[in-house]
């Protein structure tokens, strides 16, 4: 389960490739591809590790309240596919 109030980071075996619409995400372990469909989401994922919680990362990029839910859902999807992982605080 993805809890945005916990510390997260881009998974260690995951690489992001910048693309005009956002980024392509690749997991070298599961060999799965995924896509980040906005540049803000790319920045959020890149900097998850610098923030105490995922929510803090969203706030840092001033993701407006009405969009927050869709960002949390995108992060939850990434957590499910192991693209981001829990960090020990």
């Amino acid at each position: 389960m993805f809890d945005p109030e916990l510390p997260w980071q881009r998974a260690r075996s995951v690489a992001l490739r910048p693309e005009p619409f956002g980024a392509l995400v690749y997991h070298f372990g599961t060999r799965k591809l995924s896509f980040l469909k906005s540049k803000t989401l790319v920045r959020v994922v890149e900097t998850l590790a610098d923030h105490p919680t995922a929510t803090a990362a969203l706030l840092a990029f001033e993701v407006p309240e009405p969009q927050r839910a869709s960002y949390v859902k995108a992060l939850a999807d990434l957590a499910r596919s192991q693209m981001i992982e829990r960090r020990s605080a």
């Binding site: 693309e19 619409f21 070298f28 060999r31 591809l33 896509f35 469909k37």
Partner: protein, 409 residues
């Protein structure tokens, strides 16, 4: 020279569906096929690259390493390696290790000729490598008619070796034809028996495939059955998203329903030429060469041809079709090599518009042919019999046995 392409708008939208973004192309390909050699021990009748003989201009080991370095810089995370038969290149195993060592995973297709127990064990120990064994019949009879006598035995031996070595996630790769379309369940059972995964893809009239397409492409009834089968079994079967034209039967098939040529897909051929798609080896779809200044990146990002391809289609008969959103007019290569316009229906359009378009072709029409043909020029051991050619005919009756062919008694 570039292909005559439908007119399209040029501005990339922000946001929206991924598929719409893909139509405008990416900074690097997602699905890059790299054919390492035109040399092949077999002579399959439908070979998409008309392979057989090695091209003397083939990229050297050092040049191939330089391509890998570049793919690493461009963050192309994996390549689909094929040929020809890639494993007959003496440096194949070195290039495999080199790619993996440079964060470029390898999925390679092989007929299995070099996959003995030792190689199978080596592959099982290697991360980031995927193997696909090609098989075009669930029985030797059906397979060997198109791939050549003994090729079923070679492929199944390789599968056995991989299974025994404990290789994970290897694939059996099938091109669906009129002759094997009824064997889908058998293919699934065969694949399961090796603990492998089944991958089925579409036959295109590319390379030597053009010569047999009329005879081998699935009938409309078979396409319908295939569609139902995919809806029922799709979760456990890979398709390379190659059957998206079937989506026009109704519900869209899962996956990426668009022609990715030059947008997310491309081919690097054995001599370093870059084509929009592995099924489009033709001058009209040749974008450049990795040996030229700026290398592959320059070709991918700046070639005129790819810029032309990177727009959504807005005109042509298909855009008025109610199934256009899921079918997207089908496969560019299939249209091109059957002499149909690129903005019209696919020759296998499931609404039947392809058949009428094929029938309406000018009787004088000469369908486009690739400028390249590396087919073996002489007979090949175990030559396929589909075209009615006997496997290696003896030059004279008495070369085989002095009594052969003689009606005695």
């Amino acid at each position: 020279m570039t292909a005559v392409l439908p007119s399209r708008p040029a501005e990339r939208p922000t946001g929206g569906r991924l598929i719409d973004q893909f139509e405008y192309g990416l900074d690097a390909p997602i699905c890059l096929t790299w054919e390492l050699t035109y040399a092949c021990n077999l002579a399959c009748v439908h070979c998409l690259s008309s392979s057989g003989r090695r091209d003397p201009r083939e990229l050297s080991t050092a040049e191939a390493e330089a391509v890998i370095d570049e793919l690493q810089r461009m963050q192309v995370f994996y390549v689909n390696v094929g040929g020809g038969e890639p494993t007959v290149r003496p440096d194949f195993w070195h290039l495999l290790d080199y790619a993996i060592g440079h964060d470029v995973g390898v999925k390679f297709s092989t007929n299995g000729v070099k996959l003995d127990k030792a190689r199978a064990a080596q592959l099982a120990r290697t991360d980031y490598v995927d193997v696909q064994i090609s098989l075009d019949g669930a029985t030797a009879e059906v397979n060997d008619r198109v791939r050549g006598t003994g090729s079923f035995a070679t492929a199944t031996k390789a599968l056995e070796n991989l299974a025994e070595a404990g290789m994970k996630d290897f694939k059996v790769s099938v091109v669906v034809t009129r002759e094997n379309a009824g064997q889908l369940d058998e293919f699934k059972a065969l694949t399961d028996s090796y603990g492998a995964q089944l991958r089925i893809t579409r036959l295109r009239p590319s390379g030597r495939g053009a010569d047999v397409w009329e005879q081998l492409h699935p009938t409309m009834a078979q396409q319908k059955d295939l569609y139902s089968w995919l809806l029922a079994n799709g979760d456990n079967v890979l398709t390379g998203d190659s059957f998206f034209h079937l989506s026009a039967f109704g519900e869209a098939l899962p996956g990426l329903n668009l022609c990715g040529a030059g947008r997310v897909v491309c081919l690097i051929d054995p001599v370093g030429d870059v084509y929009a798609c592995p099924f489009a080896i033709h001058e009209n779809f040749l974008a450049g060469n990795v040996r030229s200044p700026g290398g592959f990146q320059q070709v991918w990002q700046n070639s005129e041809l790819f810029a032309d391809l990177r727009n959504p289609q807005t005109g042509g008969a298909c855009t008025k079709c109610q199934h256009f959103d899921s079918c997207r007019g089908g496969c560019m290569a299939a249209k091109f090599f059957t002499g149909l316009p690129l903005d019209g229906p696919d020759p296998e359009c499931v609404q039947g518009y392809g058949e009428s378009a094929l029938a309406a072709r000018d009787t004088e029409l000469v369908t486009p042919r690739s400028h390249l043909d590396h087919s073996h020029t002489g007979p090949v051991r175990g030559q396929p019999t589909l075209l009615g050619m006997p496997a290696i005919p003896p030059a004279k009756i008495c070369d085989e046995s002095p009594l052969a062919g003689l009606q005695l008694g």
